[in-house]
């Protein structure tokens, strides 16, 4: 076969190879496209990371919000819920002096001495008064617990000092009257949530003493 014939053969072979190559490249393209459609994940790794951050953020926020019920404002019905907007004039003159808090949301501690009432009259020996101004107890700031009563000192912790209407001694137990409800004070060294008295007989007696 002369050179020209060999060149003709090579020309046909090259043309055919190009034609087949184009066909196979098209097939490869189709395969890759199909695989990408199947394998391609809906989200990339950084999108999962971002989603995880959002979930963690929401979780943390919910966790923080769940602390709120410990705060007296959000506590159960039995806890002290002082009204912030309409401070009432105390019925008796034995309510402590109050100072406005700098931050109404941040819980603060208020400490009082409980002393015998100086007033005269029947049944007054059962009434007590809270002596002096509040003392901010910084060590208690982190806890959001309602009260502690130890060695004649009452420490209340709240976002804002509630209006205490009276302190009553009944059956050797002290009761705080706040918002016309009576809260039993139990001697304790640690902060405890205030719980309103639910016994109707005791409430009746306390009302009598308070009235007198």
């Amino acid at each position: 076969m002369e050179d020209f014939e060999k060149d003709i053969e090579a020309a046909f072979r090259q043309a055919k190879r190009q034609e087949l190559k184009a066909m196979l490249q098209q097939t490869e393209h189709e395969i890759v496209e199909k695989k990408e459609t199947i394998i391609k994940p809906m989200f990339r790794w950084w999108q999962y990371a971002a989603a995880a951050c959002v979930v963690l953020g929401i979780g943390f926020a919910v966790y923080r919000l769940n602390l709120a019920p410990l705060n007296p404002y959000h506590a159960s019905e039995q806890a002290v819920v002082p009204k912030l907007d309409e401070p009432k004039t105390p019925k008796k003159d034995n309510s402590p002096q109050t100072k406005p808090t700098e931050n109404p949301i941040a819980p603060q501690s208020f400490t009082f001495d409980i002393k015998e009432s100086q007033s005269l009259g029947f049944g007054n020996d059962q009434k007590k008064k809270l002596q002096g101004d509040f003392i901010k107890d910084k060590s208690l700031d982190k806890g959001i617990i309602s009260y502690k009563l130890s060695e004649g000192k009452l420490t209340l912790q709240a976002n804002q000092l509630p209006k205490i209407q009276s302190v009553i001694s009944y059956n050797d137990t002290l009761y705080l009257k706040i918002n016309n409800r009576f809260y039993k004070l139990i001697e304790n060294k640690y902060l405890k949530r205030l719980k309103s008295e639910s016994d109707p007989v005791v409430i009746q007696e306390l009302k009598k003493i308070d009235f007198e």
Partner: protein, 192 residues
């Protein structure tokens, strides 16, 4: 466009018969069937996906050319045959890019004896081939049977009897005469 492939005839012998019968689309079946194994082999040996696909396409074309040769007999499965082509292709690629260094003389000799399946021609010859390709395209555009006749003779390796039967010539001599005319015409076009 949807391509319908006859998947019932995907066993190796059927594919070979279809390719020999001129059904080039059967090559797509080979491609889809054997692709993953060959490409993964090359990727596992350091090829990137694109290069592996390119070499595999060449391997399939080599297979095609072998199958179209009447003397060729496939003694293994198509997959095994393609695997061996891919392996050689990849080793040749590594050798040519000096990415493989061997001390063992046997391996060295083996690698040196590897040849590219698609040898590139020197510039002068490639230039002549390009002229012929252009002339064949002109010939096809002009109409007539010349290009097809030359294709049957030079690429499909048909003998004169087969060519005569294909075009309805009375005998092989007529086909031979016709082939001579076409070849001379092509030579003129190339030298013009």
């Amino acid at each position: 466009m949807t391509k319908v492939l006859n998947l019932s005839a995907t066993d190796d012998s059927s594919i070979v018969n279809r390719l020999r019968g001129g059904e080039d689309q059967a090559l797509n079946i080979v491609y889809r069937k054997c692709r993953d194994y060959c490409i993964n082999f090359m990727i596992n040996n350091g090829a990137d996906t694109e290069k592996a696909a390119d070499l595999f396409q060449d391997a399939v074309i080599v297979f095609y050319e072998k199958v179209r040769n009447k003397d060729f007999e496939l003694k293994s499965s198509i997959q095994t045959y393609l695997n061996s082509i891919c392996r050689n292709q990849w080793l040749t690629h590594l050798r040519d890019n000096k990415e493989v260094f061997v001390k063992d003389p046997e391996t060295f000799e083996y690698l040196n004896n590897l040849t590219d399946w698609f040898d590139e021609y020197e510039d002068e010859r490639q230039s002549r081939i390009n002229k012929i390709t252009a002339a064949l395209q002109q010939m096809e555009a002009a109409g007539g049977n010349c290009k097809e006749l030359l294709l049957l003779f030079f690429y499909e390796k048909k003998n004169m009897e087969e060519i005569a039967a294909h075009f309805g010539y009375t005998n092989a001599d007529n086909a031979k005469a016709q082939k001579y005319k076409c070849q001379e015409r092509l030579k003129k076009m190339v030298n013009a």
